[in-house]
């Protein structure tokens, strides 16, 4: 029984540490702010959750376990809030994501300005514009 608890706790702690490091490597190597934020969220959800779960298995139903649940709830609610605030501030500042291939530019521009509806019947939506 005790060895089963230890094995479960081992697995959770090791997987949590692994996902924390995955998030750190992604934070270092991703090409763009938004993808870096995506990588950092791995650390904050899966890594933190698995490490706290492993510690909870060790602690059992005690006051320490209750404190661990409180820490888990805190991470669970505040890290998406902080990520949302960061992404909104970056979008408001005008930070653009880096895309692998450019958008199909002319049709999207005309769709946004509302000219696409009037020109769609004349087949001009599919011609390529050079600018």
């Amino acid at each position: 029984m005790s060895s089963l608890v230890d094995i479960l706790s081992w697995a959770c702690l090791l997987c949590g540490g692994f996902f924390c490091m995955v998030g750190g490597i992604g934070l270092l190597r991703m090409p763009d702010f938004y993808t870096r934020m995506h990588a950092a969220s791995v650390t904050e959800t899966l890594g933190a959750g698995l490490i706290l779960l492993g510690l909870m298995i060790q602690a059992g139903f005690t006051l320490v376990g209750a404190k661990l649940v409180m820490i888990g709830l805190l991470v669970f609610f505040t890290s998406p809030t902080a990520s949302h605030a960061l992404a909104k501030a970056a979008m408001g500042r005008g930070l653009k994501p880096v895309l692998a291939e450019p958008l199909p530019h002319p049709s999207f521009d005309r769709l946004r300005t509302g000219q696409a509806l009037s020109q769609a019947g004349r087949g001009e939506l599919h011609e390529s514009r050079s600018d």
Binding site: G16, R36, A40, L74, A85, L86
Partner: protein, 89 residues
């Protein structure tokens, strides 16, 4: 032993996030790195509490978590509005 492995992984994550904070081209990258370092510091406090056999560190980890999110949002508000006294939108 297993606590030591988790501690090493968390320390490696903090090192990687610090490198990103030093390199990061925009201020948001540095803020994201600071947020990650804060989360990892909180986890490190809990794991070290178990490693030492002193679970009192869990209270410190709770305070670190609260300060982490408050600090991030405060710096973001400072960068958006220029001071901390204005109301949000």
């Amino acid at each position: 032993m297993m606590f030591a492995a988790a501690t090493l992984a968390l320390l490696a994550t903090i090192a990687l996030a610090l490198v990103r904070a030093a390199l990061g081209p925009t201020v948001f990258d540095r803020l994201q790195s600071a947020n990650t370092v804060g989360t990892c510091a909180m986890l490190l406090l809990t794991v070290i509490g178990f490693l030492d056999g002193r679970p009192d560190f869990l209270d410190l980890a709770l305070v670190y978590g609260l300060l982490n999110v408050v600090g991030t949002v405060a710096v973001l508000k400072y960068f958006r509005h220029g001071n901390l006294g204005e109301g949000g939108e």
